[in-house]
Symmetry: C2
Subunit: 501 residues, 2 copies
Amino acid sequence: MKNKIKKPIRPKALAPKGFRDYQGSDVISRDKMLKAVGEIYHHYGFDILETAAIETVEALGKFLPDVDRPNEGVFSWKDEDEKWLALRYDLTAPLARFYAQYKNQLTLPYRRFSMGPVWRNEKPGPGRFKQFYQCDADSIGVPNVTADAEICMMLSDIIEKLGISTGNYLIKMNNRKILDGILEMIGLGGPDENKGSAQKRGIVLRAIDKLDRLGFDGVKQLLGLGREDESGDFSSGAELSKTQVELIIAFLKASGTDNQKTLLNLTELVKESEIGLIGVNEIEQMCSFCDSAGFGNNKISVEPTVVRGLGYYTGPVFEAQLTFDVFDEKGRKHQFGSVAGGGRYDNLIKRFTGQEVPATGVSVGIDRLLLALKESTPYRNVLSGPVLVTVMDKTLIPQYQAIVQELRRNNIRSEMFLGNPKDIGRQLKYADQRNSPVAIIMGSEEVNKGVVQLKDLELGSALSKKIMTNKEWKERPAQTEEKRDDMLAAVQKILDRNREQ
Amino acid sequence: MKNKIKKPIRPKALAPKGFRDYQGSDVISRDKMLKAVGEIYHHYGFDILETAAIETVEALGKFLPDVDRPNEGVFSWKDEDEKWLALRYDLTAPLARFYAQYKNQLTLPYRRFSMGPVWRNEKPGPGRFKQFYQCDADSIGVPNVTADAEICMMLSDIIEKLGISTGNYLIKMNNRKILDGILEMIGLGGPDENKGSAQKRGIVLRAIDKLDRLGFDGVKQLLGLGREDESGDFSSGAELSKTQVELIIAFLKASGTDNQKTLLNLTELVKESEIGLIGVNEIEQMCSFCDSAGFGNNKISVEPTVVRGLGYYTGPVFEAQLTFDVFDEKGRKHQFGSVAGGGRYDNLIKRFTGQEVPATGVSVGIDRLLLALKESTPYRNVLSGPVLVTVMDKTLIPQYQAIVQELRRNNIRSEMFLGNPKDIGRQLKYADQRNSPVAIIMGSEEVNKGVVQLKDLELGSALSKKIMTNKEWKERPAQTEEKRDDMLAAVQKILDRNREQ
């Protein structure tokens, strides 16, 4: 038998579907924003926690017994020892696992923040990827709503730190207990074990959560017999009666001109429900805490339509909304909407411990905030490339190396051209594509004269974009000859001049 | 049939085996170090790139055709569309995929750095986990060894930036081509398709890479008939003859008193091999570039024993070694060894493109560096907790909130106690465990008098550790009463005093 050498099959160079690569300024902007948010979390007393990306499916709590592979929305696999592992789909489930694992070593309240990627095995869409960042802060073991009020204030501080001023955002808060009161009043109360009621409550919750998109008519349809969307798909409704629907709509429209009036409206609506009145009272307390700490109506506002879609919230819920106008790709004006949200979840840790552990937390949507702020100065896509020391003559490389290290030692980002140096045009094109501010040119002639040539590349770029007048241009030549000894100062001067513009 | 309500089974609260959680100062120290290393990479002209954690197994290139599940050492799973996906096991394979995917949009040389977690499905050990950080910089499309010399200089700058001074570390460099020359001279040359030679070369490489641990005798055994370790396990050797082994050992011992002498020794050894002489010449060039840029023998040194274990290196290889003495848990003195390494790999991207693309890169071992520097000031485990505003009286919470927000607005990390406030002793214990510098106490009596009590908690801790004299203690009482209006200044004074110590 002849031992034939097989030609290797070339693998496809493709990121898996739904994943993307982030380069340069995209990474820098996000890191800057994560840092800003993390600093406020830390400032408010939260300590950082970093759990691993992988958890057991059991701990994540999404295992569905009737399918071979655990939950579709999660990346999961069977490990060698036959255990199912999965990538985390949020930062709350790993927190619950961590807290339950270490509860004997932790003092209550346990307050932590976490930032990092999470993974969802869901159909990607425009701007939606299978890996994205979350940035959460949670307090565990906090029985009263002071903790919730603090999160609302913290959200306000975060949004303002990112450069959005009062009036251009609102922290909206509400309480699931008020909605629970309403549902109780229309006969949809009772324990989760009553599957009929629980299912209808779920439909109501998700219907309200879609108010922004569907408007009151759409929500009414979903509360009633159901709704057909533009594509003809039909969503089943909660099949509530007209009176039932009306009470829910009255709740959603209970917003008054200020927090006090909204609270009065809500009290009137749920006055027959004990849980409902507890809910209103908690929000009243939160308003009082916020007011006394300097966060008034214009920053934090009671808003009955905010309910948050997740099933596990049990008390106050809150959302940060940007209220300034933005324009979509077709030039249509709209509001940006929610960029952060959270709420109280008193039952999530109970899964592990059997005991109710009161907790509340918030998640800031970094990717949405970056999208909203992409035009604002600190998060704008600006990236300054390195000063480029070109290679005119290979035998001079030791001298080029001396130049580039001299620049670096003086805090100037720089590099010597490391590609094939045969073509100076290609080197300058590279400098242009790297967004280099300056190119340094030195051949043997320059070495003999003890000089270097400096090419001001931002000037060239400004000229080509015509953002410079003829007069300015004449006063600032694009290429100058400098004594080698004066090179550092001359480069620094160009960089300073660029910075000022 | 009765519809029994099943009691839910409680999931185990455990991180999967081989994974760990990082809290507080551990995360902060690592972030600080990643930031320091990233800044130097950026300063040297590299741009940041962040690829996703997940790649196709095909792109990662570890698929073994004879097993059902791709490579054991990798976390991988079959996606719904029957494609194998995997978590990246390093940052180089994703770089090769990224470069091959976008090569038409990228100008050469492409220079990027990346930092982030990677995953290995291997048996964890002490200090070794299945998720850990890598921090890499690579240049693609760099045909000459200037790029390699620059990496050595950059490594030197990184180590010194982290606070390790010249004399306490060495950047060691070598060239695979010199070893190739030696192997050629002993008849182990030839193409990789010659499986016999290729296999023996692999054994030789890995044997040399273990020199630190096994000494020359151990390496000689592995080059010869094989070696039995302490546990009785036997590793097959390369079965080289005595003459063959001797030449390899001579190569490993070619180090002279300075780079010049080492290069002379190496030239003498490989003078019959063309590839060997090319290798020596490349290292000679690298020395010249480093010297002219101010990186001499005392920072960057030619060291024949450094070969790096990975099979894909084709030219210069380098390693950063810490040379100061450290002590293990049994008090035994040893050297810390390698904390970073890399080399030239001209064939890795060829897998995708079919064309040879010259590239070189380096990986800094953040976890090992943190271990080495854990006692040095900037990376020491110090974490200052928040100032704690205690809750003496629930009705005063609005006033406590005003206090805590006043502190935060003045850049003082602080929090109000958010747990069950019934017991002031428990609140002070919490402050202690959080490492809080100050606790603020204000009951209704204090409110009436317009004062607050400040408890200096670092003082209490210093007293209990007896790091303060009696005289100092008398001058600095652990609890003082301050006017409410003077509270901010008084807290600031305590914080400033702590900072000075």
